[in-house]
Structure formats: C-alpha cells, structure tokens
C-alpha cells in the first residue's frame, strides 16, 4: 500500500494555500416550472477541509452541487472554485474537480482498470503517470486482483470504491461526493469513510460531501451546513452545531436529600425530583466524577449516572425536520436500484 504524494495537482494554475476552494454568493436556481430549488444561498468551503452539506431530500443539495460542478446553470448569484468563476470558465473549473454522483456511475461493461483508464484520459492525466497511478489506486482500494474483471460483477461497495479510486488517479483539487455511502453495508461504508479521509489527508484534497447520515457527517466533516427548503438553515463545525441545540445532560439517580442548588462550575441544575437530578453541563464526561464527589460529600448516595449528549440528529431535527424520512428512504432505494442495474 503506497501512495506517492502529489507534488502538484493536474490543471488549475491558481496558487494554493489559505484560499477558498468554493465561494458561493447569493446562489439561486429557479426551475422552468417556477420551483425555487435553491434560494439565494451564500457559503464558503476552505481549501483542504471536508465540508458536509446536509439536508432532507428536495432541500436543494444536489442542485447546488450541479451548479458548482458546472452541470447546471444558476438563475442568479455567483460560484467560484479556487477563484475561477464557474459560468465564465466551466472547463477550467471541471479540470480541478472530481464528482462522485449519487447513483453508482462506473461503467459495468468495462473492467475496473478500463474505467480508471478512460476517465484518466478524459481528465488529461499525464500519460507518463497514468499507468502507475492506476495500478497504485487499484492496489490501495483493494481492487488490484479484480482490476481486469468487468465492473458489473463487482459488489456495490467495490463499485463505490472504484469511483473514489478515480479521484486518486485524477487527483482533483476538489472532490464532490453525493451520498457516498448510501446503500452500502456497514463494513463497506466504514471503508469508504476511511478512504475519503485518507484522500483528504494524503493529498490535501478538499472534499465536499452530502449525506443524510448524521453519524457519518459527524465523523467525517470539519464543517457542515444544513440546508432546508433551498436555504442554508445553519452552518458551523459539528461541535458548534451540537452546542447550538444545548449541552450535555447528566441524569443522576440518588437516595437521600437532594440539594436545592449546585455550584455553578458543575453546571446548571435543570430539575431535582423524586431522587433524580438533571444537570446541564458543557462537558458531561468530566462533570460526572465532580458531580458524584459533590453529592457524596453532601451525604447523598449516587446510584447511577447517565449522560446524554446532543447528536447531529438533534441538530438536524431542529433545522430540517420536513421531508427527512421520505427523502432518505427514496434515496436509499434509488441507490440500491442503481447498484443492481450495474450488476446486471
């Protein structure tokens, strides 16, 4: 398993470092029928970060991706990728980006090797490096022994890995992944997440990912934005977002006389009823021993302590309730269908 770290990236002559990978300004898309899919959104993605765009289906995520990747024209607003305006120089922008669409998009009638070869050629990867990169990518993604098999005989997880392998061959500065792990089993999913992280770390590839899976978003993303009904509802780091829906809550079961107040450094006492204390605190794990010590010092016997922390699910439910369930179900089904189509 060896990956040569890229000294330069194909295409894109802009200077790197501290630059914005994506700058979206008042971006709007109105479809001919009059539906506003994306409603004047503004956000940035910094170079080198993993940025997640979350939201229920129909929130406008895919439309947003299509506009950034030059596949659809915006109605108004501007998008630039590493400082290049997408409407003015779409081909220059496409030279810098890789795109893994939601539906499995590898070609089942070609071998794994050929899929990588053809797309490397379409990306104008230097012919002297092409072969080496392809065999490295196949090796790294555990597909080396299946490289000469037709992709339609691959499993869904292998197809997904092959798609991400394309990014390893083409080395885009910016990689888009639309629901990368949908329809995959937990093991394949874990591998895909790990490989996305590796790609980000080894090559400094900026990654833009959309997902419904909050665990995945939490694990993967440096920053994320939640989109709902064409607007960005909130954005920030996963930590910040979780803080925004409230801190950790300690529930302490005790026997004995409960204190009416607790010292401020332990947290805020939310309720104290029937031997049960609820304490709101910033860092629940650290608070557990201190709360226990404090109560025992007051002659209160602590029977159990449980900690509940807000998850991104809570954040999601707060900012993007509508349509979530229906959306994720439909997506999973269509992804599964696309896998079975390829595996004819």
């Amino acid at each position: 398993m060896s990956i040569t770290v890229a000294t330069g990236v194909d295409g894109g002559s802009d200077t790197a470092g501290g630059q914005l990978a994506i700058q979206v300004l008042n971006l709007t898309k109105v479809y001919p029928g009059g539906t506003t899919a994306v409603d004047s959104i503004t956000f940035d993605v910094k170079e080198g970060e993993i940025f997640g765009l979350l939201g229920p289906n129909g929130a406008g995520k895919t439309t947003t991706i299509k506009m950034i990747t030059t596949l659809a024209k915006q109605t108004s607003g501007t998008v630039s990728v590493f400082g290049v305006d997408v409407s003015r120089s779409p081909e220059r922008v496409r030279q810098m980006l890789g795109f893994v669409p939601q539906a499995i998009s590898v070609d089942g009638d070609l071998t794994g090797y050929e899929n990588l070869l053809i797309f490397a050629k379409l990306f104008y990867v230097n012919p002297d490096e092409r072969k080496k990169r392809i065999s490295e990518a196949l090796e790294y993604f555990g597909l080396a022994d299946r490289g000469d098999d037709l992709v339609k005989h691959y499993s869904g997880g292998m197809m997904r890995r092959l798609e991400i392998a394309q990014a390893l061959v083409n080395r885009p500065r910016l990689l888009f992944l639309d629901e990368p792990s949908i329809g995959l089993d937990p093991y394949s999913r874990m591998q895909v997440i790990k490989q996305i992280k590796d790609l980000n770390r080894s090559f400094g590839t900026t990654i833009f990912v959309t997902t419904h899976d909050m665990m995945e978003a939490d694990e993967l993303c440096d920053r994320l934005a939640i989109m709902n009904m064409g607007k960005i509802a909130i954005s920030g780091s996963p930590m910040e977002l979780k803080k925004s829906v409230g801190g950790d809550v300690l529930t302490v079961s005790t026997s004995g006389t409960l204190p009416g107040t607790i010292p401020g450094e332990l947290g805020t006492l939310v309720s104290a009823q029937q031997g049960e204390l609820k304490i709101l605190t910033d860092d629940g794990e650290r608070a557990i021993p201190r709360v226990t010590d404090f109560l025992e010092g007051r002659g209160v016997t602590v029977e159990s302590v449980s900690l509940s922390r807000p998850t991104l699910d809570d954040v999601f439910m707060k900012y993007a309730k509508s349509g979530l369930q229906e959306g994720s179900f439909r997506d999973a089904r269509s992804a599964r269908r696309s896998i079975s189509r390829h595996g004819r």
Partner: protein, 258 residues
C-alpha cells in the same frame, strides 16, 4: 493543452470506451447482422426472380439492394444511440462524463464515432456475405474506403440526430418509439430497395429530402456503377447534415441531466 487537441483526444477516448465494450461483448453486433443477411438472402433472392423491375444499369436485384441494405443496417445501429445515451444518463454515467474537463462537443463526436465503428463492422459483415453468396460488387480498394467513409459519416449523422432527440424526449421508451417511427419511413421512402421511379409522385418528392437517398446513391455509385457524377452532392449533403446534428446534440446534451 490546446482546445483542438483536447477535443480530438477526448473524442477518440469516448470512441475507445465503446470499442472496448464491444471487445468484451460483441453479441449485439453479431445479432445485428442477422437482419441485413435476411434482406439479402431472402428478400433479395426472391425479388431477384422478378424480371421486369426497372433497375438502371442492368444489375441484378440483389446487387441493387446490397448498398441499400448496408445503409439501412447502419441507420438502425445509429438511430438507437439516443437510447444508449438515455441509459447512460439513468445510470449516472452521463453526469460523470459531463463533469470531466472534456468538451461536450468531444463527447458527442466520440459517441458518433463509436456509431461509425459499429457501422464499419456492419459494412465488413455485409461485404463478406456478398462475397459468400456471390453478389458481384466493385471491390476496388478506393471505392471500399469511400464506402466506409460514407458509412462513418452517415452513422455519425444519425447517432447525433438520435442524441439530439434524446435531449428532448428524455426516456428510453419514447426513444424506442421514435426510433421505429423514424427508421421505417426513411427506409421505405428512399431508393434503398426499389428505384425512386417506381414510387407515386408525392413519395418521389419526399424521397428527395430523405438523407438515406443520398447515402444509398453514394454507396451505389461506388459499389455498382462507378459513375461519380452525383457523389459530390451526396457527400456535401451528408457532411452538412452531420455537422448540423453534431452541433445540435452538443448544445442540447446537457438538457438530459438538468
């Protein structure tokens, strides 16, 4: 890399992609030779016995329809390229192709070239069949090369037309329907299997606007008569319509993914 180099490079890469698929599984191509074979072996042989068909130049009926059957089979191959592109849209492949830095024109030209490659295969098979059953054609190397050139242009022309239609119709079912609706009238409204002089007046007029008529005429002049007087017009008509349809398809293609 300069634009023309990227354009040509990518077009050939797309064509290579198709060629590799054919190499993995060429069943479809072989199946597609059945129909022209039947036209020559059965239809051709039976109608050969009708002596009073006014065929110009004193050729036999099988000789007369061989170029027509070739043109027809290329037409059938090419017109279904729209279905392929809709299929590729459905499986996400088109999105992937359009997100590469390759120019859209290159993708259309590449697909059209791929139709040409399939057309050449049809040509080789029909020539082989003609040799086997003893249909006398002028197998002059330059003429054969000329016929292949016409085959490639013709395939490119109708593959692009089909991709343009696909950009509007957007589903495979509709493309199947339109494919049938286009190919059959074009075929019977041309000089492919009978001389235009046999047609009723109104159909004769229509056939003058049928690109298939010009293609068959060009092939016939190279394979049978050796009379090239109509050839420049035939080729010019074909080149112009190919250029128009290729341009339309590259502008319209993105409608499929919007």
């Amino acid at each position: 890399m300069s634009y023309p180099r990227r354009l040509i490079g990518s077009a050939f890469t797309i064509a290579e992609m198709e060629a590799r698929k054919i190499r993995h599984d060429s069943t479809e191509l072989w199946m597609r030779t059945v129909q022209p074979a039947l036209w020559l072996l059965i239809f051709g042989e039976v109608f050969n016995n009708i002596r009073n068909l006014p065929i110009p130049g004193g050729f036999s009926y099988v000789q007369y329809i061989a170029p027509g059957v070739l043109a027809q089979s290329v037409l059938f191959v090419a017109i279904f390229y729209g279905i392929t592109i809709v299929w590729e849209r459905d499986v996400g492949l088109l999105t992937k192709l359009l997100s590469t830095p390759s120019p859209r024109l290159a993708i259309v030209v590449g697909k059209a070239l791929a139709a040409g490659v399939r057309g050449i295969f049809q040509g080789v098979m029909i020539f082989a069949l003609a040799l086997i059953i003893g249909v006398n054609l002028r197998f002059d190397p330059l003429d054969v090369a000329g016929v292949f050139l016409v085959v490639v242009l013709f395939a490119m022309c109708f593959a692009s037309l089909s991709m343009t239609l696909a950009s509007f119709l957007k589903t495979r079912d509709r493309m199947m329907g339109i494919g049938q609706a286009i190919t059959i009238p074009l075929f019977f409204g041309s000089n492919a299997i009978y001389p235009i002089s046999l047609m009723p007046g109104w159909l004769q007029a229509v056939s003058r606007f049928n690109p298939l008529t010009y293609v068959v005429d060009a092939m016939r002049s190279m394979l049978l008569t050796g009379d090239y007087t109509g050839l420049p017009l035939d080729i010019a008509a074909l080149l112009v319509s190919t250029a128009i349809f290729v341009a339309c398809a590259s502008v319209m293609l993105k409608r499929l993914i919007e």
